[in-house]
Symmetry: C2
Subunit: 299 residues, 2 copies
């Protein structure tokens, strides 16, 4: 994976993809990019990336093609359908999907890739826009282990916690596990704030008492204070979280798994999105719970 | 609050109370103790505490009487009923209930105390047996603020995070807020482990990927590894957690508060207790979820 001889492709230059692809460019790799909305790739092109007109075009030269798009339907069309990556990538190439998506789709892609002599890797991340910018992502990798090892120089440019999780789809399963954890923490944090508010506590004093003990969490320390400031800007969009939790629920059905806590979390976030707050950050669940309880939440 | 001139009473010498009372004794205070089961006070008596035969007897001499008992019914009988603390404590005295109990009961006690010229303070704690032993508890205090300040030398002997929360009952409300947070974290942690297990992930590798980011929590870092070792010994008993969550649900009803996540958490922990695991630690919820999903959880 020498920057002088390895050619990369990158598809999907949204908030996350832009930063991650930027690190690869910055390390000296030659990168060809594509994005549905071309303007969002402008900064990367200015920094030396080459533009291509379709996923298949991106895949023409490269040894490794990355995809970081929105929803599973985007993953499918970008990779599997007409003018998709697999129709352009040569045998011996590597495809890395870093979108948070369906484990079953990751398996389907890996099988279609294998039939063409291509290794497909699923490698969703956590850490958000800040983690992407600072190259501190946690990267959860599924697929062939040797290919995972081979890509290590590239992982290291984008992330801090790099962990192989198992065969195709295992990266996606791990990301869903991460989201199940986050969902329960977020719901209980927002419910706790609503409880504290209704019972007349000072939210600041309450946070002082509970943040450093058994009730402590990354969310409470980082998003709790934002909620108190009335800051509902997205670190992570509600609509993307609803996507992830929906996939987790589907996978539970597929695996005959009954997880009652997850079900209620997914429902509460779906309500929040239905109420029109899909483009706010996940901490805005407190607004939905406040409406539900006739609380005029201070913003 | 000079150790030479201040006399203290302590009722309830279980795992928590024993350590907390021990710190007061160790600092040179003269302490009279009572416990339903006398043997559990033996170590304190050996360390210099005086024994009394009832809560009222404990309260005869002291300036400040602490109670740290089990359930709200114990709080009621220890403080309000025949031979209770209030029937023994002189006007001008201070009563501090450190049991996790009902906010409404704390208000009732404060009013009954006030009618006798006594200040009653509610001061539940978090931090568990280890926090009690190491004097690192978080103490959440409700009641008269001047009395709270007056007791500061004593709080400092038992805890690290000492925070006034407001009028009578506010300490209890803050503890319930803490427990609402913990419940959601524990449920999502156990569900995430079940999901990861069923989807074939290595639980160790999964924890590596998720522990330090947005899914991170005190519980995941401290109880996650215990679960993986098959260690279900109580840091905190399931039956005490069920008590606390039951009180939180009651308070929600009283305040017309709809918190769907809390409801399902309480139900899941009640199931676990009904299945016979009330004396295990709260991390044993994973066993109940495993049974529910026909998983033979490795212990």
């Amino acid at each position: 994976m020498n920057p002088q001889t390895t050619r990369l492709g990158w598809i999907g230059t949204g908030v996350m993809g832009r930063s991650m692809c930027g690190h690869l460019l910055h390390a000296g790799y030659s990168v060809t990019v594509y994005n549905r909305t071309r303007e969002k790739a402008a900064a990367l092109i200015a920094a030396g990336a080459r533009w291509a007109d379709s996923p298949a075009e991106v895949a023409k030269q490269p040894d490794v093609v990355f995809t970081m798009v929105g929803y599973p339907t985007d993953v499918r069309s970008t990779i599997l359908e007409k003018d998709g990556v697999l129709s352009g990538l040569a045998s011996g190439g590597i495809l890395v999907d870093m979108t948070s998506s369906q484990p079953s789709l990751a398996v389907e892609i890996a099988e279609a890739a294998q039939a063409r002599g291509i290794q497909a890797i699923d490698a969703p991340v956590s850490g958000g826009d800040i983690g992407a910018r600072e190259a501190r992502l946690s990267i959860m990798v599924g697929g062939d282990e040797q290919t995972f090892q081979q890509l290590m120089p590239l992982w290291n440019l984008m992330g801090k916690t790099i962990q192989y999780q198992g065969k195709a789809g295992a990266g996606q399963h791990c990301k869903l596990t991460n989201q199940i954890l986050v969902a329960g923490i977020m719901v209980s944090m927002c419910e706790a704030l609503i409880y504290a508010h209704r019972s007349g506590l000072s939210l600041e004093n309450m946070l002082t008492s509970v943040s450093s003990g058994a009730a402590g969490s990354w969310s409470l320390s980082n998003l709790g204070p934002r909620i108190l400031r009335g800051d509902f800007k997205p670190g992570f969009y509600v609509e993307h979280f609803v996507k992830d939790l929906g996939i987790a629920i589907e996978e539970c059905k597929r695996m005959s798994l009954d997880l009652p806590g997850l079900v209620i979390c997914e429902q509460l976030y779906r309500s929040l999105q239905a109420e029109g707050d899909g483009r706010l950050g996940t901490q805005s669940l407190v607004l939905s719970l406040a409406r539900r309880n006739q609380i005029d939440w201070p913003t």
